[in-house]
């Protein structure tokens, strides 16, 4: 079943054509990787999915709902979560708070004037958040201030913040960039485990090791257009892809 | 028609003053990222450089005549400035030019003060939240003005412009109006050209010198410049000193228009912030255009014809314009994204 449909999306920045008639179809339960050289428009495309950018033309639908013009929080509320290239977390709050906030957002919706309850009385939410922290291996740091985490831990925290919401579609913008090999492998394991929950994922990634360990389908973006699409093994051998990368990556 | 020309002239004149006062403030915002609530106090210190200079050169020789008694019971004193006693007519001329001459005092003094202030205080607040910058600079402003008050008192101290530019001049005759219709104070015209000159120099300095290029690069991206091995810190100190000097010069030259008192900085503080924000944080051209825009609009809003239709409009025009501009243009006229938005 198709979960996300992108058709004929165009986006210009001044004279630069960032996205040129992009078409994409993401199937439920798949891990769909988007690869391509720097400046190919990968992040721009992701921004069009979450309401950060509005395409000049074309349509983006998620489970039949039009995403264009919708606000970021509305898009999240219908089941799309995103991990950023540089982790976006609540830096001055504790790890536990960082997880509890998305948990509450899932339960109470985009706004709730819940000023009379006590956070420390929210047993169920708290347990769920603690559980999530354990899942990503941050449980013993739950009382720490998020800004004091290492970069890798911050990424894991952000991932946990998205996962705790049980999204239908998870967008990952270079989830392992800047991580050590060991951390990268941990993250791959983690993402695979999520796969078992049936969360559809779109991954932007440079690291082909990550791409080929995770992806069930790959789209290659170059200069704003999709130049190739298919299963990992097909893409590996595609000459257009190799040309696009000019041997710059270990394909 | 002549009324409108007069108000445009007045608006330019006001705008020049606003732009000049806001210039240093926006320079500090843009380069150092510091919200400087002591900027009004720097303006006031500049004005008091003129007062102090005048005090010094008009130090009086006091001749006491014990045979005559004043009404309040003290011996009669005859006072003559030393400078006139020593230099005669030259001394009188120097006294007459006290305000422009005090620039000579204000430039080194304000540069030094800016340097000390940045090294001693501001530097430690670059990374601190804006709220704390506000508190510490506001505290400094109060301290400065109280020191000035304890020495000079609270009452305004008049400073006269030199005789040659003290009166008004008939500008209308130059552009074909009837004599006596477009008459404008000469000192205000001097001030307008002075502010244009200072604004121009600051722009030229930033545009055409290597120093200026580094500072502009630093305004755009501080970390990168740091990576290039350039000591941006020291340059920022100088930028702060220059900003203090610009504020001080604005103050010196403003004294004949507005007799200075210790509180004048606070009176200008809010206004200069509005100008800077309407122009867009950290944008020099923005601050200058906002200064002129607000000046001209304020002049027009004060016209009787306008006030009869919209009573009280002259009282709120500055703020009303600020609200409208900020709603239409989120970062003011020329602000950059992400500056002072958190």
């Amino acid at each position: 079943m198709e979960i996300l449909n992108v058709s004929n999306v165009n986006k210009r920045f001044g004279g630069l054509k960032a996205l040129d008639e992009v078409n994409l179809s993401v199937e439920q339960g798949h891990v769909h990787a988007i690869i391509g050289p720097n400046g190919a428009g990968k992040s721009t495309l992701l921004n069009c999915f979450v309401g950060r950018l509005i395409p000049d033309s074309g349509s983006v639908t998620f489970l039949g709902k039009d995403l264009i013009g919708a606000k970021p929080h509305e898009i999240n509320q219908i089941g799309v979560s995103r991990v950023f290239q540089t982790p976006e977390i609540f830096g001055d709050l504790t790890l536990l708070d960082n997880i509890m906030i998305p948990t509450l957002a899932k339960r109470d919706g985009a706004f709730s004037l819940n000023a009379w309850a006590r956070v420390d009385g929210l047993g169920e939410i708290r347990d769920k958040a603690l559980h999530m922290l354990e899942d990503v291996g941050l449980a013993e740091k739950k009382g720490m201030i998020a800004d004091s985490l290492s970069r890798g831990d911050k990424r894991r925290l952000e991932l946990a913040m998205c996962l705790v919401q049980d999204p239908k579609l998870l967008l990952l913008d270079e989830p392992t960039a800047g991580m050590s090999r060991a951390d990268t492998n941990n993250t791959i394991d983690l993402l695979k485990r999520i796969g078992e929950r049936g969360i559809t994922k779109i991954v932007i990634e440079h690291d082909m090791h990550v791409v080929f360990s995770l992806a069930s389908k790959i789209s290659v973006l170059a200069q704003g257009t999709v130049i190739a699409e298919g299963k990992p093994e097909d893409i590996k051998g595609d000459p257009r892809v190799q040309e696009a990368y000019l041997g710059g990556a270990h394909v | 028609m002549d009324a409108i020309v007069l108000q445009i002239l007045n608006g330019l004149d006001k705008g020049g003053a606003y732009a000049l006062i806001a210039l240093g403030l926006t320079l500090i915002f843009g380069t150092l990222g510091v919200v400087n609530f002591a900027h009004g106090a720097l303006f006031m210190l500049g004005a008091f450089c003129a007062v102090a200079f005048n005090h010094v050169i008009s130090l009086e020789q006091v001749v006491v005549d014990p045979t005559k008694i004043t009404a309040w019971g003290t011996p009669l004193e005859t006072r003559t400035p030393y400078i006139e006693v020593w230099l005669g007519d030259t001394g009188t001329t120097l006294l007459n030019y006290s305000v422009p001459l005090s620039i000579l005092l204000a430039v080194p003094l304000m540069l030094l003060f800016g340097y000390v202030m940045e090294r001693g205080l501001i530097r430690h607040f670059y990374k601190r939240p804006h709220a704390e910058q506000i508190l510490v600079t506001f505290g400094l402003a109060i301290v400065l003005q109280e020191i000035v008050k304890s020495y000079f008192g609270a009452n305004p101290i008049p400073q006269a412009a030199p005789d040659v530019v003290r009166g008004a001049m008939d500008l209308g005759t130059l552009i074909g109006f009837d004599p006596g219709t477009i008459v404008y104070p000469q000192w205000r015209i001097v001030y307008l050209f002075f502010s244009l000159g200072i604004i121009g120099s600051v722009f030229a300095f930033l545009q055409f010198t290597t120093f200026g290029m580094v500072v502009r690069a630093g305004m755009a991206d501080r970390e990168t410049v740091g990576f290039l091995g350039i000591n941006i810190e020291r340059r920022f100190t100088l930028v702060f000193a220059i900003a203090a000097m610009v504020a001080g010069l604005a103050g010196v030259m403003y004294t004949p228009i507005l007799p200075p008192d210790y509180h004048m900085g606070m009176d200008f503080l809010v206004l200069s912030f509005v100008v800077v924000v309407v122009g867009g944080m950290g944008s020099l051209p923005g601050a200058v255009s906002a200064g002129f825009l607000l000046g001209i609009l304020q002049s027009f809003a004060s016209m009787n014809e306008v006030k009869t239709i919209l009573p009280g409009i002259d009282q709120i025009i500055i703020y009303l314009v600020a609200v409208i501009i900020l709603l239409v243009r989120p970062r003011g006229l020329m602000g950059r994204k992400g500056v002072m938005e958190t």
Partner: protein, 381 residues
């Protein structure tokens, strides 16, 4: 506040706070602040700062025009006195309604921008209100002289003209001046503190901290930041409105100068001085500034000579003249120095100072960084 925050510790804090406030006439008397008017001001400005802190301390939005709600609350209360009579309850209701409406309107527009742009928008609205109230709105505000209750006002519930006594607000026959006025304000301060405490510990409060921390993440987490900030803005506006209403209740007069930018700046200073984002800090800051304003300004040469009379004359004269720079007409200087000293050495305000002191006494306790609840981290700031 370094220990774990629990419902129990909050209750303890609330009870201690209540006792401390109610006993203020006793323990403030030795430092010369135990007289009704200043006690009322402590309570009222404490409430004002408490409300401001809900906006600024939690969301980080620095309103530079918050005094407008203080002014609106005062005007609304005095109009209630004029129209309905001297009962403080309808007056406070008026204050709440009007300050909430103003806050809703101003917040709706100003919150479209953030950072310094937000600050300037709020400042602009407050200055417009102040300038208009002082001049062209005189029929509503009575301009410079200030709005007062007159014998000729309708006062529907009191019955006009039947009462020729002084026009003082009364609740069930109790005059809202003097110590009874203070206790009325104190009760509202305690209620305000309770509400503030609940908000701090609630999911709503956590969301407000999230706004301060990272708005981007918030919206990608499915939370709409605008209603959160607007709700915080209105709540804190209503706190200010009630404070303004109380100013009118204890002294039935409302003047435009309450809305001037200096008044808005004052509450910012109170909050930061005490410690923004902490529960008690803003109240301490408010108390300190009001104490300076009323007590330090009252010293004069005569009182200084009396204080230093134990010194020999040779020393006394210079000591008095130096001390004179900082009190009486120089009290602003002391205030300015205080701001600088606090912010340079105690970035977290007075509360940080208190925390450091309490740390010295409790070195043996475990590190505070690993608290198990989110709230303690913020409360310990």
């Amino acid at each position: 506040m370094l220990t774990k925050v629990t419902p129990r510790s909050d209750l303890l804090m609330f009870v201690l706070f209540t006792l401390a406030i109610l006993a203020m006439p006793l323990w403030l008397a030795p430092i010369g602040a135990g007289y009704p008017d200043l006690l009322q001001k402590f309570a009222i400005f404490g409430l004002f700062a408490l409300g401001f802190n809900i906006l600024f301390g939690l969301t980080g939005y620095l309103s530079f025009g918050h005094a407008v709600f203080l002014g609106v609350g005062s005007y609304a209360a005095v109009w209630s006195f004029k129209l309905l009579g001297m009962n403080p309850l309808p007056a406070l209701l008026f204050s709440v309604v009007f300050s909430a409406l103003f806050a809703l309107a101003i917040g709706f527009i100003s919150l479209r921008r953030s950072g310094i742009y937000f600050s300037i928008l709020t400042l602009a609205f407050a200055q417009m209100s102040y300038n208009l109230a002082y001049s062209v709105l005189t029929p509503i505000t009575n301009g410079e002289t200030g709005l007062r209750v007159l014998q000729s006002d309708p006062r529907l519930l009191d019955g006009s003209g039947s009462d020729t006594g002084p026009l003082i607000s009364r609740l069930f026959g109790i005059e809202m001046t003097g110590y009874s006025g203070f206790y009325f304000c104190a009760v509202l301060l305690i209620v305000g503190f309770y509400i503030s405490q609940r908000i701090f510990r609630s999911p709503f409060g956590m969301m407000l901290r999230a706004v301060k921390s990272n708005q981007n993440r918030m919206s990608y987490t499915g939370l709409n930041t605008r209603p959160y900030t607007l709700a915080a803005f209105v709540i804190s506006g209503v706190f200010a409105g009630v404070a303004g209403g109380l100013l009118a209740v204890t002294d039935p007069l409302a003047g435009a100068e309450r809305m001037q930018w200096t008044a808005s700046g004052e509450v910012v200073l109170m909050t930061i001085l005490g410690g923004a984002g902490t529960l008690l800090g803003p109240i301490l800051g408010a108390g300190l500034i009001k104490y300076f304003e009323n007590i330090f300004s009252a010293y004069n040469e005569q009182t200084l000579h009396a204080i230093f009379s134990f010194l020999p004359d040779v020393i006394e004269a210079p000591v008095v003249s130096i001390a004179g720079l900082f009190v009486g007409e120089g009290w602003h200087l002391t205030l300015g120095l205080l701001f600088m000293v606090v912010v340079i050495f105690l970035p977290g305000g007075i509360m940080e100072g208190l925390n450091r002191i309490s740390k010295i006494f409790s070195r043996s306790k475990p590190k505070p960084k690993f608290t198990s609840s989110s709230q303690s981290a913020a409360a310990a700031e």
